[in-house]
């Protein structure tokens, strides 16, 4: 363990913390913006909740994406401390560039590209199967998110479905999914277990005709509970019911956002922390969660104030319609271990919800530019990561 090694560990830690901080500060305002816009919760309390839920999500759900980023993007090479530093510095530089230039730089693309770049520079081979998986998912995100938002908004707009039925129904769907999200804290034979799976194992995993009845039963019970709770509030007061659901939905979306984002900051450090330093994975996630918490508390109030007004004008139905896919897709990505940009999902959701009302009013050229910047980020971060590692290796000697 040389001085260089520890210097690199320090630098990588700082870069990782910066990444976690900026993820917490920049991508966590949408979950609570509709609730703030509807005056269901004050800005500062919303920012506090965002930080807490995002950090909890990072801690309990962050493992899968962290692992993908850390070990599945390149074959035949493990990220050395120097490579992790180069990768994180590259990703952090792109994020900073985004903040200062105002250009849309998605963290998922910047980090994935940077890690691929340094991995290839280390002599690894491209993991084509992983890229195909990521590429397919990324391409499907706008359609999934837009589609779910469209259907949700359509459901909520229907005159024959009263709000006191439509909103509780949505709450039921969300609660049913909550029973099936993978959590690191649920005891399970695998790293992360679901609540439905936990209850099933508790009762000896009974199955009827190949269907795990307890899992299904738990899901249904959760859904019924979610439906009943929101329904009861709605019947007392439609306004209060919607507010309750907005806050509950905001909380699970913030939780999912933390779980899907933290891996972008901790992934490159996986090998360094777990193998070289011999620390448990949860320590790494706790580190990332702390960064996200700090970022959310410091950055979210400003962003919440800026975006909540728009969600208020978007209307309650379309706000809900934009958040529901955010939750579903983030959870799907976490279960598949796929890094995603949370903002991309929300953007597609907002557009999809808008289309349900007739015309979305989106600008083709703005969408074109946004997509172009995503691609540029992916390619450029790969190139910069590749070059930066080479530079480090030349200056410091290989390690």
């Amino acid at each position: 363990m040389t001085v260089t090694f520890w210097a690199l560990v320090g630098l990588a830690t700082l870069a990782g913390l910066f990444m976690a901080w900026s993820l917490g500060a920049n991508s966590n305002s949408p979950p609570f913006a509709p609730a703030v816009g509807a005056n269901a919760v004050p800005t500062m309390r919303a920012a506090f909740l965002i930080g807490v839920f995002a950090a909890l999500g990072a801690l309990t759900q962050g493992g899968s994406i962290s692992e993908t980023v850390g070990s599945s993007l390149v074959r035949g090479a493990t990220l050395t401390p120097m490579a992790a530093t180069a990768g994180l510095l590259t990703a952090a530089a792109f994020m900073t560039l985004g903040v200062y230039s105002g250009y849309p730089i998605p963290a998922a693309f910047a980090t994935s590209g940077a890690v691929v770049g340094v991995g290839l520079s280390l002599g690894g081979a491209p993991a084509w199967d992983t890229y195909r998986r990521l590429g397919t998912f990324w391409l499907a995100v706008p359609f999934m998110s837009g589609g779910i938002a469209y259907l949700t908004a359509k459901l909520l707009r229907r005159d024959d479905v009263p709000d006191a039925v439509g909103v509780p129904l949505l709450a039921g769907v969300v609660a049913g999914i909550v029973a099936n999200v993978s959590l690191g804290v649920v005891p399970s034979p695998t790293a992360q277990g679901t609540l439905a799976g936990f209850f099933s194992r508790l009762l000896g995993e009974p199955a009827v005709g190949g269907v795990a009845v307890v899992e299904v039963g738990t899901t249904v019970a959760f859904a019924a509970l979610g439906f009943a709770l929101v329904r009861r509030r709605m019947l007392a007061s439609v306004d209060a019911g919607i507010r309750t659901f907005l806050i509950a939905l905001g909380s699970v979306v913030a939780f999912s956002s933390g779980g899907s984002q933290v891996g972008l900051a901790t992934g490159p450090l996986e090998n360094l922390v777990r193998v070289e330093l011999g620390l448990p994975g949860i320590a790494l996630l706790a580190f990332g969660a702390t960064g996200i918490l700090a970022g959310a508390w410091m950055g979210a109030p400003r962003l919440l104030q800026a975006t909540s007004r728009e969600y208020a004008q978007l209307g309650l139905r379309r706000s809900l319609a934009a958040l529901v896919p955010g939750f579903i897709i983030a959870q799907l990505a976490i279960s598949l271990g796929i890094p995603i940009s949370f903002n991309n999902i929300i953007i597609s959701g907002v557009i999809g919800g808008g289309l349900a009302g007739g015309s979305a009013g989106v600008s083709r050229s703005k969408i074109g530019w946004t997509v172009a910047f995503w691609l540029i980020t992916l390619v450029a971060s790969t190139a910069v990561g590749f070059g930066l590692y080479r530079l480090f290796a030349a200056v410091l000697g290989t390690s």
């Binding site: 800026a306 975006t307 929300i346 989106v362 703005k366």
Partner: protein, 295 residues
């Protein structure tokens, strides 16, 4: 509008009347109209950034349309007025684009004193950027009390290209209120009386050359150990102070000048800072701006 325009940027409903009134005074002397603009900031990080500018202006700009209508009502009937909502990634980008597209005679923006606290920022990020780059005369009005019943306008002069636009605004405000303009030059401890007197004469000539009706002008040359203190004293006896940005020098001084900035901080009067069109950023700067505003 075919006639020269005065572009006035408004954001906060509380300060609209003050800014629009000054813009109207200026428009009247240049024989033009007022174009009131309000910038809706939409970053690309915002999910709402993907909507078209028209959609954002129509549906997601809050009560800004109503606010612009109220602002238009402040403009006197003899001055033509238009109002529009702009969508941009930042206030300064929106304003610079509006200047580039409409080529106004002047741009008027407000400045709240509390913005100056941030380090490296002279008057607030947006105001600084506009002062540096807008290719027309720029006026910055310190947001404060409404200058009701203006009787005396102070025009401190220290030479340089910005005296011209400062004289234009001093003349315009004075003409609208039948007020007197005092052209003041203060000779510091290591300066002689003659050069201060020359500057006052230049200032008077600038007032006379400014468009609009002739206004009553008097000139004062003062010698003082501390220029800043002398200006603060003089400002107290006037309702409005119109400064030209001072000569080029250090970065900060180039934008506004340290003396006008400090005097503005020490008085409660309405303060206007003027920056001449010809002193906008050089060719490299404008090239960079064009690339940045390309999207």
């Amino acid at each position: 509008m075919d006639r020269p325009e005065v572009l006035v940027a408004v954001g906060d409903p509380e300060h609209v009347e003050q800014l629009v009134r000054t813009a109207s005074d200026l428009a009247r002397v240049v024989g033009g109209g007022v174009r009131i603009v309000s910038v809706v900031v939409k970053s690309h990080d915002s999910p709402f950034g993907v909507f078209s500018d028209e959609t954002i202006a129509d549906r997601y700009s809050g009560d800004r349309r109503a606010f612009l209508d109220r602002a238009s009502d402040v403009v006197p009937d003899d001055v033509p007025v238009e109002a529009e909502i702009l969508v941009a990634r930042s206030v300064d980008r929106g304003l610079l684009r509006a200047v580039a597209e409409t080529g106004p005679a002047a741009l008027l923006i407000g400045w709240r004193a509390r913005d100056r606290q941030r380090s490296g920022v002279v008057l607030g990020t947006s105001v600084d950027a506009v002062l540096r780059r807008a290719t027309c005369d720029v006026y910055v009005e310190r947001i404060g009390q409404l200058a009701n019943g203006v009787e005396a306008v102070l025009l401190p002069v220290a030479g340089g290209p910005h005296v011209r636009p400062a004289a234009v605004i001093a003349g315009a405000v004075a003409a609208a209120n039948d007020a007197t303009v005092t052209v003041l030059s203060v000779a510091g401890p290591d300066e002689d009386h003659e050069s201060a007197a020359e500057r006052v004469a230049e200032g008077r000539a600038a007032i006379e050359a400014a468009p609009g009706p002739a206004v009553e002008t008097r000139t004062v040359v003062r010698e003082a150990a501390d220029v800043e203190d002398a200006l603060v004293d003089a400002a107290a006896a006037h309702d409005v102070v119109a400064f030209g940005a001072t000569r080029r020098g250090a970065f900060r001084a180039r934008l506004v000048g340290s003396v006008p900035r400090r005097v503005a901080e020490r008085t409660n009067q309405t303060v206007l800072l003027a920056r001449a069109a010809e002193e906008a950023g050089g060719p490299l700067r404008s090239l960079v701006d064009r690339v940045r505003s390309w999207r």
